[in-house]
Symmetry: C2
Subunit: 101 residues, 2 copies
DNA sequence: TAGGATAATATCGCAATACAATATCGGGAA
DNA sequence: TTCCCGATATTGTATTGCGATATTATCCTA
């Protein structure tokens, strides 16, 4: 398995993306990421969400679902801009490093 | 301009890629990255190269060019495997977050 | 109704990373 | 010699990553 340091940014971009598709909450996001092969413990996930919110990419509010309090995150305008920027960089990365064929 | 935390992994993947195309050295790589809009100071670049080498993705040897010592890096087998893994993850990322069309 | 399992988020403490600034090093030019 | 330039290295601080642990509230079941 290849070092995480290459992919932490990918994970954050996934998070931004999922937050555009609809409100996300921590554990649900962890499951989503696991489907892509990214295993993320709570000690990484939650601080990351907090930071993305603090930096203005996401905003959140708590909601009670099935008796449990979940903190749902949605993307902000700044977050959308960041995601667009990320898509540009992904295109560049693809153009550069992917074998055509 | 969007936060670096999203793109540090991209930069490392670029570095691996360029190291497959031929030997690279620090300053030359910095210029290459600048072409993609990534500005990387020496305090980030060199420790990153050292770490990629220490972890076995790259190997290096010094060479005198025009009187100046350059440290050239080439990719290792492990580095090639990592790059392939990265390509897979990039494909997944594209499939997930890029608007089709 | 007490106890335990479960869902979910939060935080602590240490290690690893990022990075601006600064240092170093050798050669060429004046 | 002295200064500049190309190039790499290191230092000190701040930030980030992350395993482990804590916390909180509800549901289930005996």
């Amino acid at each position: 398995m290849v070092d995480r340091e290459f992919f932490l940014g990918f994970i954050k971009i996934h998070i931004l993306y999922h937050a555009t598709e609809g409100p996300i909450f921590g554990l649900g996001m962890a499951e989503e990421l696991a489907r892509h092969g990214y295993r993320l413990g709570p000690g990484t996930l939650y601080p990351t969400l907090h930071r993305l919110e603090k930096e203005g990419y996401l905003e959140s509010h708590p909601k009670v679902v099935g008796g449990k309090v979940r903190r749902y995150y949605t993307i902000t305008e700044k977050g959308k801009v960041a995601l667009e920027e990320a898509r540009k960089k992904i295109r560049e990365l693809v153009a550069e490093v992917m074998e055509e064929k």
